[in-house]
Amino acid sequence: MKAALRPGDAAFANVEKVNAELFTLTYGAVVRQLLTDHEDVDDVNKQLDSMGYNIGIRLIDEFLAKSNSAKCADFRETADVIAKVGFKMFLGVSPTVANWSPDGKECSLLMDDNPLVDFVELPDTCQGLSYCSILCGVLRGALEMISMRTEVRIVKDMLKGDDVYEIRMRLIETVPEELPYKDDE
């Protein structure tokens, strides 16, 4: 008997796909362009993050429409869905969720496989570059659209010799939902 697909696998199986190398090389082109246009590596990190944010606020729609995910009860569940369904659905990889803070508001996504970085090696001049910071922006943007203000940053980077990619997510606050109109208008 065939085992039932895990939700992330099902979501990934149902989407149209493209060769990962085209994606990787295009991302490389984006980073190279930003490095040419900005003198300071920190500006490049910021720009990547803001591009990610723009993607995140749009990507969440597709995620909600296609992933069949139910509403998450708390941040723990949200982090789990991001790792198992979100990452899987868009990038085909599933990070593990780990290193929870005691108050349940901060956790890490760990992955050793990351389609953004194939063929990449950071030259000495770019050691300050946080190559994958676009992912932080995507997470922040997507979560903001579902009323969660977060702070996301990369704390471990295999391109800099760490043994894993670690993305740290901290929930700052849950913004109460507001209707876009008022009664007296």
Binding site: V15, N19, L25, A29, V30
Partner: protein, 195 residues
């Protein structure tokens, strides 16, 4: 390289690592989102549509250089095409298959000019989710793919001018995209000499 523990792979120099097979895939939307960000970023940097196309072409050019190197290693046992028709077929089939998962719809020689060739695609992947606003005229995001083709050709020793154009076809709502390749005179001379 066999036997290198997976977790240690990143400690090995990038050229010493085993070459990936190129079979992994990501969500098409992931690419579309990223590409759209690239286009939007360039839009803030340029004054007109021509400049925008040139920027996209330059971005694609860097990809083309890498694609040629990668595919020559992986698909052609470190050989690369030296003849005009050879390199064109290589782009039309091998490069297209690697990047877009299929051969290009057609490869044709221009009827009027000896040095012009066209690769056409009914629905070019990068144009899939793009609709061009009226005030941007003939702007075509395929400029990115034209850049890739130019990158491959240049680094293989076939300098050429490569541009992307929309060509309307009867009975279809969306025009197809044609990548027009015009080779430099020295390439044509060399071809003649090689007979």
């Amino acid at each position: 390289m066999l036997g290198v523990a997976r977790g240690r792979a990143h400690l090995v120099n990038v050229v010493d690592r085993p070459l990936p097979k190129g079979k992994t895939e990501v969500n098409l939307s992931a690419f579309a989102f990223l590409f759209s960000e690239l286009v939007q970023y360039f839009q803030t940097k340029v004054n007109n549509v021509n400049e925008l196309e040139r920027k996209l072409e330059e971005a694609g050019y860097g990809v083309g250089l890498r694609v040629l190197e990668l595919l020559c290693h992986r698909e052609k046992a470190n050989r690369r095409e030296t003849r005009l028709l050879g390199i064109l077929t290589f782009i039309h089939s091998t490069v297209w298959k690697a990047l877009f998962g299929k051969q290009a719809d057609s490869l044709e020689k221009a009827t009027t000019e000896e040095d012009e060739y066209m690769i056409s695609e009914k629905e070019l992947l990068v144009n899939r989710f793009i609709s061009v606003p009226k005030d941007m005229g003939q702007f075509n995001c395929g400029a990115y793919v034209a850049g890739i083709v130019k990158g491959v050709l240049d680094s293989a020793g076939f300098p050429a001018r490569v541009t992307a154009h929309f060509v309307p076809i009867e009975g279809q709502l969306r025009p197809r995209t044609t990548i027009l390749i015009k080779f430099s005179p020295e390439v044509m001379l060399r071809e003649q000499r090689m007979g």
